[in-house]
Amino acid sequence: MTEPLLSVRNLTVEFPTRRGILTAVQDISFDIMPGEVLGVVGESGAGKSMTGAAIMRLIDRPGRIAQGEVILQGRRIDNLPDAEMRKIRGRKIGMIFQDPLTSLNPLYRISEQLIETIRTHLPLSETEACKKAVGLLDDVGIPDASRRIDDYPHQFSGGMRQRVVIALALCAGPDLVIADEPTTALDVSVQAQIIDVMKRLCAENGAAIMLVTHDMGVIAETADRVAVMYAGRIAEIGPVRDVIKDAQHPYSSGLMGAIPRLGANLERLTQIPGSMPRLSAIPKGCAFNPRCPHVMDKCRIDQPQAVQTAPGRRVACWLYPPQDGTTASAERQSAE
């Protein structure tokens, strides 16, 4: 069996505030295999973006990684000095954000930004880097790349900018790309193009993708596996087809039912009552229990641990009570 590219173990992210410590991400664990697309889906406040930021160590103070490990290619990166981490960002892990304007410096030409990033990470001369930059822009589908490379970010449309950001993320040949809502700010017809470009290029370069989004449709089209997050924890993780066709956690099945579909013209959508709890008021026990249609007494008291229900599939719900072996391992994990 191959080694995972990235392993996240019991990661917890906390924000100390004057009203106590808020836990944005709580004890989550998952692996990303080389070349794989892992979707992380959840609603606002679920902690999905925070997970991506924690892996990149880009959490704003006073937030901090309180617990857990992030292992990239067998090497722990959550406790590296900042200078080391900067080398990993860009070289090993590329980033794509929702708003392309935040990733591009408006005062510099695209060429300068691309060449600078390439030369920071790769031992290339100015001319070689420039050639590579033009090639990259060509790859992401920017027409007339050799001319447009000297434009400023504001001279591109939203979709074109996001293509530039993808080029920027891929320019040092990273092994993992973390894409945080890469298509949310774009029009529907452009969204599909960007997803295609991202998927194709990562496959060509052998890069894995961690795709953070609220859009189940994007996940369905792009991801190999999906992690459904709720209130800072992973509710369910598994192969994308299984989770979409046969969601096991009541939250993920509710989420699937809530999406209006072109095919079926239903009178009413399935709805989950209530809303995602605020970080300051996460219910005791299972965080989903006040909204859950299958709630039991146990759910209000104890937090369910992730249980393997099928190969590659884990669910954290008391509907799937742990077998003896898994309880022990889950408890051992949380005790560590």
């Binding site: 029009d187 529907v188 969204q191 994007v218």
Partner: protein, 328 residues
């Protein structure tokens, strides 16, 4: 026989995007205009939902603002229940008409005054249209409305920032309903919300429509949502109506190449393995739109005529290729 409540005729709106006077004089440039909406016509039946679909720059929000009177049309007319709104409204007649329409906005936080308590926000239409209503009656009415939209009367003393996005949109709906309107313009009411909350709000809006016989103009970029809500649909592209059809017909047999492209771009959540056609190009800037049919640079069926002539809406479709029978 269904009755037409709103009739939009040849509606156009032009915006002046010129530089300031001094700059124009010094640089010797002329005035510049953007045609945000051009010759759009449609009608909305009472008790039904009419959806306007389009991407950025399509002019859908401009049409919403024109209908509710936040903007004045440059050309054309809007007829609401037989009364023309073209020349603006004055006096008692205006008040009687205004209380019949309301609007729900995209960003529920921005649509609620952050310094007001919820009770004051929801009661605002009452203070405008039910002058002389006692404070107690107002509070009772607001309590009823909050209960109706799934909140509690006690929520009335709180401020908007104390609620989640979905709850804020419920407050906005309660305000819209306060003065018993029969027509509501909804401008992307769920696009700022999460999926599970979106489902709640869409269900609520459908329930309210049934209970009070409301007429909606529903503006959205999300085709799945529109499919769920609308009876009739108008597809906009760069300020012009591309296609206008009954919802079922539009989704089962789209005619305009742009509509087909939009439908193709919807992510395949059923995972049927449907192969999507690669969508070409991006939306041009409305400041400098293409000649002829604005869609021609992205259209696989475009010919010389499409580059030259603007297509007219014939049988609900504005496309030369459909008109000539080149595509079926």
């Amino acid at each position: 026989m269904t009755k037409t409540l709103l009739d939009v005729r040849d509606l156009s709106r032009r915006f002046d995007v010129s530089q300031p006077w001094l700059n124009r004089k010094i640089e010797g440039t002329g005035k510049r205009f953007v045609n945000a909406v051009t010759e759009v016509s449609f009608s909305v039946n009472q008790g039904e939902t009419f959806a306007l679909v389009g991407e950025s720059g399509s002019g859908k929000s401009t049409i919403a603002k024109l209908i509710v009177g936040l903007l004045k049309p440059s050309h054309g007319d809007i007829v609401f229940d037989g009364i023309s709104l073209k020349d603006g409204l004055k006096g008692a007649k205006a008040r009687a008409l205004r209380r019949r329409f309301q609007m729900i906005f995209q960003d529920p936080l921005a649509s609620l005054n952050p310094r007001w308590r919820v009770v004051d926000i929801v009661a605002e239409p009452l203070r405008v249209f039910e002058r002389g209503m006692s404070n107690r009656d107002q509070r009772l009415r607001v309590g009823e409305l909050l209960t109706l939209v799934g909140l509690a009367p006690e929520d009335g003393v709180k401020f908007p920032h104390q609620f989640s996005g979905g709850q804020r949109q419920r407050i906005a709906i309660a305000r819209a309903l306060a003065a018993n309107p029969d027509f509501i313009v909804c401008d992307e009411p769920t696009s700022a919300l999460d999926v599970s909350v979106q489902a709640q709000i869409l269900n609520l809006m459908k329930d309210l429509q049934k209970e009070f016989g409301l007429t909606y103009v529903f503006i959205s970029h999300n085709l799945q949502v529109v499919r769920h809500m609308a009876n009739d649909i108008g597809v906009l592209y760069l300020g012009r109506l591309a296609e206008f059809a009954e919802a079922g017909a539009l989704f089962d047999a789209p005619k305009h190449p742009y509509t087909r492209m939009l439908l193709d771009a919807v992510p395949d959540i059923e995972m049927t393995g449907r192969r999507r056609k690669q969508v070409e190009g991006e939306i041009p800037s409305p400041i400098d739109p293409p000649s002829g049919c604005a869609f021609h640079p992205r259209c696989p069926f475009a010919n010389d005529r499409c580059k030259r002539d603007v297509p007219l809406v014939i049988n609900g479709v504005a496309c030369h290729a459909v008109e000539e029978g080149r595509i079926g």
